[in-house]
């Protein structure tokens, strides 16, 4: 088993999806153990791939394998896998999180209807994401990209008896679809000029300067549109918080490992092309910064645990795009990895709270949960601290890297904005933790019933908490050396030139200050069950508070546009269809035939002399006509 067989990683869960979809209903326990087995074997195999990659001669050189797929005219389409450090990082992240989510779901989904179907789609979800990160050409990538979209639709709308869930599923699907159309246009544009779908050949084509700069700029903007849609960057961020309607393990999977990071992966993969296309990196950076700040604001006023986490995900994805826009894929992939671990931890932790409190996810009814849920509380604290960027947890190192690259590429303004977003992140994370786990319970009834869930749910939490603590350390040379990739992750995931990681002490101090500030403000406002300070703030600035509660009216604005634009246009089209196409075209021609038939039938009088006269007059008329024509 080497990296040439990397396709097995996707094939095993995909095959298991088929098995579970066909027979899952009849299997004992819905076949959940088969799902765990499939994703577990992918998890194990990903280490073989890593080992194979580390053993290559030319130092982490990509390992490719492709087969001829089809021939259309002169165009030969080859499909295959492409394994390089970015892929391996994604393998690790996706399989780890998917495995943890699968195990967690055994506890979380217990007794739910369609239990077997849930596990089946989880397999397909993981398989499509794994296929996406190893695709060597844009066509295969697009196929798996859409598969990921379909799976998210199925899982967000898992409780399809609930109207809000189906609405959320539709919203997620349609919003990402708008970006997907852009991606498809971008892929076709690149193919038209380069004549290939192969990613490496396109990169080479771009670097040799065969694209005209305006053409490349437009194509890459379309490609980035796809990444924005999938990664829920502003202004496409609206679907992600609504996606919380799905079961919580799905939220963990979507937010940490699959789906939303696909956009980050795509941008990282095509970063050499983005760098050739002048101006696109600035666009990426600005989109990332705007999203990070915007969603941090939105997270302030949310009272639903999962919604706060959803906005924090969008914000962290913004950070990853800032790193990519700054030309530092290593930092982006590093942040992606650490974020995947602690965000999966936070989501699964919130899932544990939800199960423990019998489906209560409103912070205003929680509080003081730490006493009742010691394991969940402790692991959640670790996850929150990692998200807030507390040294030495994972989030600190990767966020530091992002800030560092933003500073060195774009200068202090980018650092200031990103830093501001980081302060806000630390603030609302603190608020989330204090409101949920500390202080006095606000709802005695809920508190009474709370009980720590079983090992199936706490086990993954502990494992992910461990990763959230240590995964940041791979940044160091020594740690990397022990694990087999000397130079740490920053040299592992490089695209062009490696950059040795060195701690910028000033920046490290700054980022420490950032998280301390955020946590400090959060603690000052919410410590000890008191909402006095936050309420007084909300009442002194009612308009700002309203805007936050309504998420800056994005949904309302979109609804307005849909009502006026789409429905107005639809009205015109339906009017045209009803009165022109249907009434005039279809019914009209039928009526003309019917009316002329009704009128002409009276000519058939049944009287023989009339017919004879008709024939005679006809002959005369023809004779005259002939004379006239002949002249």
């Amino acid at each position: 088993m080497g990296a040439e067989q990397a396709w097995l990683l996707a094939a095993i869960p995909a095959g298991m999806f088929v098995v579970l979809a066909l027979f899952g209903r009849k299997l004992p326990r819905g076949g959940d153990y088969l799902g765990i087995l499939a994703i577990g074997s992918s998890f194990v195999l990903s280490f073989f791939v890593l080992a194979d990659l580390l053993g290559t001669e030319e130092k982490l050189g990509p390992i490719t394998k492709a087969i001829d797929w089809t021939q259309i005219g002169n165009f030969q389409l080859r499909m295959g896998t492409f394994v390089d450090p970015i892929t391996v990082v994604m393998f690790g992240v996706v399989t780890t999180v998917a495995l943890m989510v699968n195990i967690f779901s055994v506890g979380y989904m217990k007794g739910e209807p369609r239990y077997w179907w849930f596990f089946a789609v989880l397999q397909l979800f993981a398989a499509s994401m794994l296929l996406l990160v190893m695709a060597d050409n844009l066509l295969l990538l697009y196929i798996s990209w859409e598969l990921v979209g379909v799976c998210s639709f199925l899982l967000i709308g898992f409780y399809w008896e609930k109207r809000s869930a189906t609405e959320a599923a539709k919203k997620a699907f349609i919003t990402t679809r708008i970006g997907d159309v852009g991606l498809l246009i971008g892929i076709i544009l690149l193919w038209r000029e380069a004549g290939t779908f192969n990613i490496q050949e396109i990169i080479q084509h771009a670097e040799e300067g065969h694209f005209s700069s305006a053409y490349l700029f437009v194509s890459m903007c379309f490609i980035f549109l796809g990444a924005m849609g999938k990664s829920a960057q502003a202004p496409f961020h609206v679907w992600l918080p609504d996606a919380m309607e799905g079961p919580t393990p799905v939220s963990a999977l979507i937010h940490a490992a699959t789906m939303v990071v696909a956009g980050v992966y795509l941008t990282a993969r095509l970063l050499p092309v983005f760098e050739v296309a002048d101006g696109t990196t600035l666009i990426i950076t600005i989109v990332g910064l705007v999203t990070a700040v915007l969603t941090a604001f939105m997270a302030f006023a949310q009272t639903d645990i999962k919604k706060v986490l959803a906005y924090s995900t969008v914000g962290q994805l913004g950070f990853m795009f800032v790193a990519l826009g700054s030309g530092n894929p290593s930092a982006a992939m590093f942040h992606l990895m650490t974020h995947a671990f602690f965000k999966a931890l936070l989501f699964l932790g919130s899932g544990s709270v939800i199960i423990a409190t019998h489906h209560n996810q409103d912070m205003s009814k929680l509080g003081g949960m730490w006493k009742k849920l010691p394991i969940t509380g402790t692991t959640f604290l670790i996850g929150s601290a990692a998200l807030a960027g507390v040294v030495p947890l994972a989030g600190f190192w990767s966020k530091d890297e992002v800030l560092h690259s933003a500073n060195s590429e774009w200068g202090p303004w980018a650092l200031a904005i990103a830093g501001g977003a980081a302060v806000m992140t630390a603030f609302y994370t603190t608020r989330l933790f204090i409101r949920t786990f500390m202080g006095e319970p606000r709802d005695a009834h809920v508190y009474e019933q709370t009980k720590e869930p079983g090992w199936a749910m706490t086990g993954p939490l502990v494992f992910l908490a461990f990763l959230a603590v240590v995964s940041g350390l791979v940044v160091f040379h020594g740690v990397g050396k022990v694990l087999g990739f000397p130079g740490g992750i920053t040299e592992f995931v490089f695209l062009e030139e490696a950059e040795k990681y060195s701690i910028d002490w000033g920046l490290a101090a700054l980022s420490l200050l950032i998280s301390a500030t955020g946590i400090g403000i959060g603690a000052w406002m919410y410590w000890g069950n008191s909402t006095r300070r936050s309420t007084s703030l909300a009442t002194s600035y009612p308009r700002a508070y309203d805007a936050l509660c309504n998420k800056f009216y994005f949904d309302e604005a979109y609804q307005w546009c849909i009502d006026r634009g789409v429905l107005g246009f639809s009205f015109l089209v339906s009017w045209f269809d009803r009165y022109i196409v249907n009434d005039t075209g279809v019914d009209g021609s039928a009526q003309v035939t019917g009316f002329s038939g009704y009128t002409l039938k009276f000519l058939q009088s049944g009287k023989l002399p009339n017919y004879a006269m008709g024939i005679a007059l006809g002959v005369v008329a023809l004779a005259f006509a002939g004379i006239l024509v002949r002249g």
């Binding site: 039938k601 009276f602 058939q604 009088s605 049944g606 009287k607 023989l608 002399p609 004879a612 006269m613 005679a616």
Partner: protein, 102 residues
């Protein structure tokens, strides 16, 4: 030799008589007879033209024989219909047999 015009004039007169008979008569048998007149007028035309324009070829005569054959068949069929009509309605007046209409 009788000039061609005479034949044509005779043919036209006979044809017109036939047309008049078809249009004016109400008796089915008389209508059939008028039709025969028209057919014979046409046959006369064929034969006359054949004799005058190209005496060596008998194309026109053959056409005339065809017309006679077809006319015989037609009359056989039509008279059968007329007999059925008479059996059922006790009349051969075509105005009385006008129920096949809209």
């Amino acid at each position: 030799m009788v000039p061609l015009e005479n034949y044509l004039v005779l043919s036209a007169i006979v044809f017109s008589l036939g047309v008049y008979g078809v249009l004016a008569r109400r008796n089915a048998v008389l209508i059939l007879m008028s039709v025969e007149l028209m057919l014979n007028a046409v046959s006369l035309n064929f034969v006359a033209f054949a004799a005058y324009l190209d005496p060596n070829r008998i194309t026109g005569a053959i056409f005339a024989i065809f017309v006679i054959t077809v006319a015989a068949a037609e009359v056989g069929l039509a008279l059968a219909i007329v007999i059925r009509l008479f059996r059922n309605r006790s009349t051969s007046n075509v105005d009385e047999a006008a129920i096949m209409k809209w």
